[in-house]
Amino acid sequence: MELLRFATAGSVDDGKSTLIGRLLYDTKSIFEDQLEAVERTSRDRGDEHVNLALLTDGLRAEREQGITIDVAYRYFATPKRSFIIADTPGHIQYTRNMVTGASTASLALVLVDARNGIVEQSRRHAFLASLLRVPHLVVCINKMDLVDYDETVYNRIKDEFRAFAAKLDIGDLSFVPISALHGDNVVHRSQNMQWYDGTSLLHHLEDVHIASDRNLIDTRFPVQYVIRPQSTAHHDYRGYAGTVAGGVLKPGDEVIVLPSGLKTTIAGIDTADGPLDEAFPPMSVTVRLTDDIDVSRGDMICRPQNQPKVSQDLEAMVCWLSDEPLRDRGMYAIKHTTRTARAQVRALDYRIDVNTLHRDESAETLSLNEIGRVKLRTTVPMFVDEYRRNRTTGSFLVIDEATGATVGAGLVL
């Protein structure tokens, strides 16, 4: 059984929480004690229906204020796949939350209210999904019950969204007309929209092809940890543990280790369950090398004829996640794969308006939830790929050295 991670974006008003509640409820992933609690609260609040949105309310502050503060993770499974939902709130700190949720997602689900059509927020969500290279985007046109399940409304919104999405880099775009409240086209095909010839949302989530979303071409193995048992049984054992970030590793492969540039071959790929014939992303394995060379955490194993860019100059789109704005010339810590370095901000080329995609070249800083193109100079060389080519070797965190807080997310250009 495969695992699909997807992110949902939208505000309370779009019916996002109701949709998630509906998915969980109709796939029988809600337990009786959870449902009873929700029924009780719905009654107390005088809601007309059992308010499925309450299933996703987490913290006390959120219930009190009727808002969602933070990304919440939810789990459900069908006989075909298991799912992890990163449920990202729409209105508060939207960029910070959606960027976080989308970073690990194979699919993004954007909600549009059929009565309102495409609004600023829909464009913003589509842009962020494309920036974060989420391979599949599903637009759920919700509240179809409130527009009499009218096909022309659905088609109009679909065309408008397509026109906007053409300006973005979106691999796979699909549309589903739904009513989360009544369950139309969520888990089961709706009888109210005979004109719709597609599948239900759940059916799409179960069937969407995600296997080819990973990079199986460029071999990248960031060394995470060196395993040296120093025991009698494994006296001379020296293995390099890590998670495959790209390509396929096989025993006998000729490899080069960065930054030393020394060449050797893979002697074996070990796991606690025995040796492997090959390893691919995102497997966690231990690689042994034929030659006894100096390799440590932060080094990168790749193929001699296919190497990442080795450079101290990083050009990246940076999403700013902190209340304290980006400091020009400021020094920050950078965490990229298993490598940590210090970096200085050299330039902010422009700031991008996430609603209009307009580039403001006169911008002088990035504030919370803003995104811009930034030039950084690192203290040591980094081994990077373009984010569009590899989401693992193309991404990094910007960390405030004084507070230790994660203040930015970088996507290598």
Partner: protein
Amino acid sequence: MSASTTYELSSQQALEAESIHIFREVAAEFERPVLLFSGGKDSVVMLHLAAKAFWPAPIPFPVMHIDTGHNFTEVLEFRDRTVERLGLRLVVGSVEDSIAKGRVRERPDGIRNPLQTVTLLDSITDGQFDAVFGGARRDEEKARAKERVFSFRDEFGQWDPKNQRPELWSLYNGRHHKGEHIRVFPLSNWTELDIWTYLAAENVDLPSIYFAHEREVFQRDGMWLAVSEFTQVREGEEVVRMSVRYRTVGDVPITGAVESTAKTYDEVITEVAATRVTERGATRADDRLTEAAMEDRKREGYF
């Protein structure tokens, strides 16, 4: 774990790979990690994954048990047996000692579960631990659904849910100052069913009380509690002997058993897959105190 030619991992393999990545990241970046090991099924899976992450080397950190003194005998025996088998160092933080030293006061109801937080935080400080592995899962409870994999704790061990570090990709930020620490949850993305399926697939040993056995129990607040030296049967409560098993393992006085005849992993999985009540809702009195019981305890530094 065998590689298939389609280059796809099963859900189980993907979860295992993610957890192993987290263990190695902590071992590489922290000076003094420790793993919380109670003998409960989640901590058993954690320890099993840790052993796999560093194989053929031994697990490079000790394990810690916060002992309330109200344990199931079978679980304590299992704890000691496991620690010995893996050659680990066991640190025990004793709630009884904390009471004796006056760090905490015994509650009128005698329930020690809420007292554990003080013992836990004292033990973390005394051991100078900078990373503490916990077996909490996000599917367990709604406050936990918002918990990070690397969860920052201030010098008082407090969790601030509104001020968490964003966690992106598989990049974990473990920065902290002296006296602060990071709670690490390698099983964040596992569900109860994942845990059971994995235990069965890997044929991992568990304390016997997780499987059906005959026990004297009585009903209180809708839960089957075990007759033991830590529980007083009140008037009107009828003691019956029946076949039960435990879905979670906490202190004897607050952990409810479920009626069951499931004696093997396969039988347990069939029951878990069909169950309609969450494991905490069914079997844990400590979560029923208020709607935000877990959130409140977590803020103070609980597991």
